[in-house]
Symmetry: none
Subunit: 91 residues, 2 copies
DNA sequence: TAAGATTTGTGCGTATGTATT
DNA sequence: TAATACATACGCACAAATCTT
């Protein structure tokens, strides 16, 4: 037990950026590093909640932020996936 | 219909404890009184939903609470059962 | 073998109340 | 006042395993 996510990042509540942005930034790193591939799901809300120890509200803010930045797209009742960002930016 | 559970308890939304804890407390009483025996299933989520008139989220919170307190264990796709609490507490 | 019901697991959308900054 | 965060609650939909018919 406890091997997979021992390296999970932690929220820095003293940082200038709010928690939801720290979580989003971490996911962006995983997208740009290829750990999260196009059309593959990003961690679920409950996963983010557990891994970061934040409230659902904060996890949802992070996902919404990623969506607004164009990194992911959400399919209702299914999940949120990495968006293909090659080529045009306008969907 | 309506004879067996006319005496079913009701949620007090003005109480200091949240609904999910009130539901859990009632189940704990049933466990400790012997109405719910070891390795016997506690009411299913849908039963709790109907009997207490709450949302599934609330019913699940109650069950999760019982699990965290060590009163029950859940078998996926089967149900949640009363845990044997005699002897050691550690697993 | 197959269909249907049951039950838990999961994901998402939304809302209210409280607290902190 | 506003933004952020946490806790709680209600609703809907689909998946997967199990059990019944």
């Amino acid at each position: 037990m406890s091997t997979l996510y021992d390296m999970s990042p932690t929220i820095d509540y003293d940082a200038p950026t709010p928690p939801y942005q720290q979580i989003a930034a971490e996911i962006i790193r995983d997208i740009e590093s290829g750990k999260l591939a196009v059309d593959r799901p990003i961690p679920s809300e409950s996963t983010l909640i557990q891994r970061w120890g934040v409230a659902r509200d904060t996890a949802r803010r992070a996902v919404r932020h990623l969506r607004e930045l164009g990194f992911v797209y959400t399919v209702p009742q299914r999940g949120t996936y990495v968006r293909d960002r090659t080529g045009s930016e306008t969907e």
